[in-house]
């Protein structure tokens, strides 16, 4: 059986312009959530969000201005920046002359970029359809980021866009992992992106799932695991992992971060409590158990759970699912933290950003603080030892990290990273 390893990382998160910056934020507990006057003007309940600080100039080292002419889609720009960083990190060629037939790409995208769609709608409604040319159609495609990555980096094996709500990012990594395992590719660009715009966030605001009580304290707004959690802060960004078949990576002398030991993605079928917006707990627990089986590890092997933990009422349900699926509790539950306490919920990009964060914690032997949960939800405290939840950075060697995401539509994904 082919083994799959991670050889490159790239990220553009609300609290990190690149991997080094993101690592520093995770180590120091730096939030990327800030106040946005525009959301107040638009009469949102929530006035805070996580938007990456983007430096587009990094792309100009390798590509002409023409490549990015008229690009308005932030998810495309975010994905390109993160992927270029990941390929450079993996010491693979940027902008190659030839198609790389052994490389594929699975790049997730949850909500098509409204910024591109807005351009199209505005032009058509104003009777200016003929003025659009080729500018916006490819950007409005949900596959826009994957299509642009193909133009820039030339993967010639499977090129796929996956879209499974908040489960998208972890699912993209697992799909890429499966393609290498099955021999369809030697290396994969795997990741996901999500645009920053009020249209994506407006629906969530109207559903009353965004944080609205901490508009004057943005860094307090996202409070996973807390008794005072009141919804998530919307986030955005992208992250990319370069996955490679182990022997192929070793043969070219690649730096290896870790192995993807296994994972699973499934659905609860929107039955037995599962719905468009809530998970069937049996589906979640099966996903976690299947992941451990696929990775051939025991619950006791897990050093850290990087939870989905969005800062909604579902946090306590998620913790209960981890407790039940792992068969661990007050005495032996591992550390668990929520990256969304710093980044907000980056929707389709959440899983890939959190996977990069999970690998960085393993690589640098620390557990990042889970912010804003000093007032731990008492129902969660009844299930696990409160000491499992770090309020400050813990320096500790980590051998095995498990990460999960759960999304609208009752979809689940779970992945295990392990040192090699």
């Amino acid at each position: 059986m082919r083994r799959v390893v991670v050889t490159g990382l790239g990220v553009l998160a609300p609290n990190g312009r690149n991997v080094d910056d993101f690592l520093d934020s995770l180590q120091t507990g730096k939030s990327g959530i800030r106040y946005l006057e525009k959301l107040k003007e638009l009469k949102f309940r929530c006035h805070v969000a996580g938007i990456p600080e983007m430096d587009e100039s990094v792309l100009k080292h390798f590509f002409s201005d023409a490549a990015f002419q008229n690009i308005v889609s932030l998810s495309i720009k975010y994905g390109c920046i993160a992927t270029q960083e990941a390929l450079l990190d993996a010491n693979l060629p940027i902008n190659p002359e030839e198609t790389d037939w052994d490389m594929g790409c699975v790049y997730g995208h949850c909500i098509g970029d409204f910024l591109a769609m807005k351009e199209m709608i505005t032009h058509v409604d104003a009777g200016r359809c003929r003025n659009m040319g080729s500018k916006f159609t490819s950007q409005a495609m949900n596959s826009g980021p994957a299509a642009m990555l193909t133009q820039l980096f030339g993967p010639g094996s499977r090129v796929i866009t996956n879209s499974s709500a908040c489960s998208t990012g972890t699912e993209s990594i697992l799909m890429a992992y499966e393609l290498i395992k099955s021999g369809k590719a030697l290396r994969m660009i795997a990741g996901s992106a999500e645009s920053a715009n009020e249209y994506t966030w407006g629906g969530f605001d109207s559903m009353r799932v965004l944080s609205a009580k901490y508009n004057d304290q943005p860094e307090q707004a996202t409070r996973p695991l807390s008794a005072s959690s009141c919804g998530f802060a919307p986030g955005s960004g992208a992250a990319t992992l370069i996955l490679e078949e182990l022997e192929s990576a070793q043969a070219r002398g690649a730096k290896i971060y870790c192995e993807i030991k296994g994972g699973d993605y499934n659905s609860g079928g929107q039955r037995n409590g599962g719905s468009m917006t809530a998970p069937n707990v049996e589906g979640v627990q099966r996903c976690i158990k299947n992941t451990l089986d696929d990775a051939n590890i025991k619950p006791q092997d897990i050093d850290l759970i990087s939870g989905h933990l969005t800062a909604t009422f579902a946090d306590k349900i998620e913790v209960n699912n981890w407790v039940s699926a792992l068969g661990l509790g007050q005495s032996d539950f591992p550390h668990i933290n929520s990256m969304k306490s710093m980044t907000g919920h980056c929707v389709g990009a959440a899983g890939s950003i959190e996977s990069v964060g999970a690998i960085l914690q393993m690589q640098h032997s620390f557990i990042h603080p889970s912010l804003n949960c000093e007032d731990l939800n008492p129902e969660i405290a009844d299930m696990i030892d409160p000491e499992c939840i770090p309020h400050h950075r813990i320096d500790k060697a980590l051998n095995t990290v498990i990460s999960a995401n759960f999304g609208f539509g009752d979809v689940n994904s779970c992945i295990v990273f392990q040192k090699i």
């Binding site: 002409s64 023409a66 002419q69 008229n70 003025n131 080729s134 500018k135």
Partner: protein, 84 residues
């Protein structure tokens, strides 16, 4: 406006669509958009939209489909000049 002025203006409109920046200095009246300037057919349409907006003209579909060189663009601009 002289032909030279038109050429310089058209050249500016072409520049954003050059995949290879080094080709900027090679734009001539007889440059072929696809063969010489390596501009793909979709971006030729985008260039023509920019041209239409810049000169407030409409390039019909037949003319667009046959457009291959810079000189043909200049010819379109010259043809619209009123005869005094």
């Amino acid at each position: 406006m002289s032909i030279e002025n038109s050429f310089q203006n058209v050249k500016k409109l072409i520049l954003p669509y050059l995949e290879d920046d080094s080709l900027a200095d090679s734009i001539e009246m007889d440059s072929d958009f696809i063969k010489d300037l390596k501009i793909n057919s979709v971006h030729i349409v985008d260039f023509v939209i920019d041209l239409e907006n810049a000169y407030d003209i409409v390039v019909d579909d037949d003319t667009l489909s046959k457009l291959s060189t810079v000189r043909e663009v200049i010819d379109i601009l010259e043809a619209r000049k009123p005869v005094i």
